[in-house]
């Protein structure tokens, strides 16, 4: 463990203990290291654990004056472009690099009628939505409502067919090599007052059989009958094989008829929704499609309406 003393503007001091590889420690050094260079200084709100997590110190990065550690900690701050950790070195010996996740936003994803039809479908099937709570250690990890068997519907296929039309562009824009598709997992959720989904990622890695892309299609009534419900995509600290979410993030508001796509290993969080009416019809609806890869390509496998053969990487896209 490292003893850390933080000096803040105005003379205030905070003392805490952090593990040698704690992402918070790296964040503190990166904030200091980002000042005085050619790049924009990192600015963010920080919350650090005190007294074994019983309390927290909160301050803005601008207030941070210096970091004193005991024993001394030598860090090597690198830009993301410089990061190519050697696989044969232990993670601790490799430089830590902060990655900001890429994402793609597609507005007007469906046509006007298709969008309205999707909303009508959700409202007509209110009775079929079930609680989607996922229990965590202390409190539920997720609260929303999901509809089972949505993947088999014509509405799911319509969405999937359009999504796969975009596939070559999604992989290219998100820096992902084209991959053979095994399956498209699809889920329709309704999120209402108080619903949320805590910080998590959808995949364990890029290996075959994993979820590769997470594609969230939003639709809801206008004017927007709820507040909150933004999706936060967290920066990640990469050190060797380790990927740890940081406290910095990009926040993306839900917009009706918008598709948001990001790589499934990105840590993300659905912020709590406030829906004063608590009416089901005023929910924030979303269809999430996960594109799952395979290591056993099947050039004949059909997706979407059945004609799209995405089970193998097309010859012209092979890297």
């Amino acid at each position: 463990m490292i003893s850390v003393r933080l000096q803040l503007e105005g003379g205030q001091e905070i003392s805490l203990r952090l593990a040698e590889n704690a992402p918070e420690l790296m964040t503190l050094f990166q904030i200091l290291g980002s000042r005085g260079g050619d790049v924009e200084p990192m600015e963010q709100f920080l919350q650090l654990p005190l007294e074994g997590g019983e309390a927290a110190a909160s301050f803005h990065s601008r207030q941070l004056v210096s970091v004193i550690t005991e024993p001394p900690v030598i860090v090597r701050l690198e830009t993301p472009q410089a990061a190519h950790p050697a696989a044969d070195r232990p993670a601790e010996a490799q430089p830590a690099v902060v990655h900001t996740p890429r994402y793609l936003v597609i507005e007007d994803f469906l046509s006007v009628d298709e969008h309205e039809d999707m909303l009508a479908y959700a409202l007509q099937h209110e009775e079929e939505f079930e609680s989607g709570t996922v229990e965590g250690k202390a409190s539920p990890h997720r609260q929303n409502q999901v509809i089972m068997g949505f993947a088999e519907t014509a509405h799911s296929r319509l969405l999937q067919n359009r999504l796969l039309t975009w596939l070559p562009h999604l992989t290219r824009e998100l820096d992902l090599a084209p991959f053979p598709l095994r399956h498209v997992e699809s889920q329709l959720t309704a999120s209402n007052d108080g619903h949320y989904y805590r910080l998590h990622s959808d995949a364990g890695g890029d290996q075959a059989g994993a979820r590769m892309l997470t594609c969230v299609y939003y639709f809801f009534r206008q004017p927007r009958p709820f507040s909150g419900g933004a999706l936060r995509l967290y920066d990640v600290l990469e050190q060797g094989e380790r990927r740890m979410p940081m406290t910095s993030y990009r926040e993306l508001e839900p917009v009706s008829n918008r598709l948001l796509v990001f790589r499934s290993h990105v840590h993300h969080e659905l912020m709590r929704i406030r829906c004063p009416s608590r009416q089901f019809a005023d929910s924030r609806f979303a269809v999430t499609n996960w594109l799952i890869s395979t290591d056993q390509p099947d050039p004949q496998a059909g997706f979407g309406w059945g004609q799209l053969r995405c089970g193998a990487v097309p010859a012209q896209f092979e890297v």
């Binding site: 796969l164 039309t165 290219r172 012209q316």
Partner: protein
């Protein structure tokens, strides 16, 4: 701002068409930028142009996910890819590769206000969207079958925000229609045109129908764009010229064609070939060195450093001699004259060298080229 866009492959057959389109675009006085999207594999060399900006897009023939070869896929696919990669906010004039612009089309399109060429041969019938019954299967994949698509085809002037909305659906519908229609049917070759109209209707992008193009079979041109995809015939209806079999740059005989749009096109082509052969075109282009390009002279070659480029440009002795003569004053013809005298080589060889080198330096960002005057 208007961007004139056309889509092609990197094949030799597409290259002469692209060169002709570029020259016509220059001579028409069309404002804005000319953009050529080239659907080509990553390892294929991109063609070069003196004026048009060239952007590589993914190859779509065959369709990557459908067992289908159809040249019509590359149009929506390339436009979709380009609009994802570049944040464009402009009017887009979409031209068919087998067309030339004879007069400027300078009325910009506002978002929600596109203009398309009136499609007089719209495949009308009792099917969905007022289409022929061959299209009945479309009903399974379209939520609203009562929409009335605009009966327009290319050329089209549309705002980039509108095209960005509908491009994926246009590509998707092209595939769905191709799956419906027998490949032997003439309708199968129109799949991308029908898909464009249906996608425009679904995304509520109204189009005004107007005569923007004349076909090479028309008795009278009378339109800013001339489409030469159809064979050109004589007064006795014998084919006198056909783009499918044309060998570039042989000189056509325009007088053999029946009076009308076909003869107008052949006159344009004949004139272009003549000027191309004589080197007259070179006289209208004046290369200018781009700002910030630095040069270094080595014993056996010259090296250029272009701002923003990852690598240095290496010029051999003859390319270096051409670069040295690019003094913002001389035209390409002037440069060719100097070199011909200096090295005592045939004129046509020098002209080819000068043109090729200057276009390459232009495409690498080292030179700018003045617009040719008619």
């Amino acid at each position: 701002m208007i961007i004139t866009v056309f889509v092609s492959t990197h094949s030799a057959g597409d290259q002469w068409r692209a060169e002709l389109l570029e020259q016509a675009w220059l001579e028409s006085g069309q404002p804005g930028e000319l953009l050529r999207l080239v659907a080509a594999p990553a390892n294929a060399a991109l063609p070069m142009h003196g004026t048009a900006r060239v952007v590589r897009t993914l190859p779509y023939d065959p369709h990557p996910y459908l067992p289908d070869r159809f040249s019509g896929y590359k149009l929506p696919a390339a436009l979709l890819e380009w609009l994802v990669r570049e944040s464009v906010d402009a009017s887009l004039l979409l031209l068919d590769l087998e067309s030339v612009l004879l007069q400027p089309l300078d009325d910009e399109a506002e978002p929600g206000g596109a203009v398309g060429h009136r499609w007089s041969d719209w495949p009308e019938g009792e099917g969905p969207f007022g289409l022929a019954e061959d299209f009945t299967g479309l009903q399974a994949w379209c939520v609203n079958r009562t929409l009335e698509p605009p009966r327009v085809t290319f050329p089209v002037m549309i705002h980039s925000t509108d095209l960005r909305k509908m491009a994926a659906r246009w590509l998707e519908l092209t595939g769905l229609i191709r799956n419906l229609i027998s490949p032997d049917s003439e309708l199968a070759n129109q799949a991308h045109q029908v898909a464009y109209a249906v996608a425009a209707a679904e995304y509520r992008i109204p189009h005004r129908a107007k005569k923007l193009a004349a076909a090479s079979t028309d008795r009278r041109a009378g339109a800013p764009v001339l489409d030469y995809g159809q064979p050109i015939v004589s007064a006795r209806k014998e084919t006198v010229w056909d783009a499918a079999t044309y060998r570039p740059w042989t000189r056509p005989d325009a007088t053999a064609a029946r009076a009308g749009a076909g003869r107008d096109f052949l006159s344009f082509l004949e004139d272009y070939v003549t000027r191309r052969e004589s080197g007259a075109l070179l006289a209208t282009r004046r290369p200018r060195r781009c700002h910030g390009v630095r040069e270094a002279r080595l014993p056996d070659r010259m090296v250029l450093e272009v701002p923003g480029a990852e690598e240095l440009l290496q010029l051999n002795a003859s390319a270096g001699a051409i670069w040295n003569l690019c003094d913002n004053q001389r035209t390409l013809a002037d440069i060719a004259d100097v070199l011909q005298e200096q090295f005592e080589v045939p004129g046509d060889v020098v002209c080819d060298d000068v043109e090729r080198t200057v276009i390459e330096l232009h495409s690498q960002g080292a030179l700018e080229l003045d617009k040719a005057s008619p």
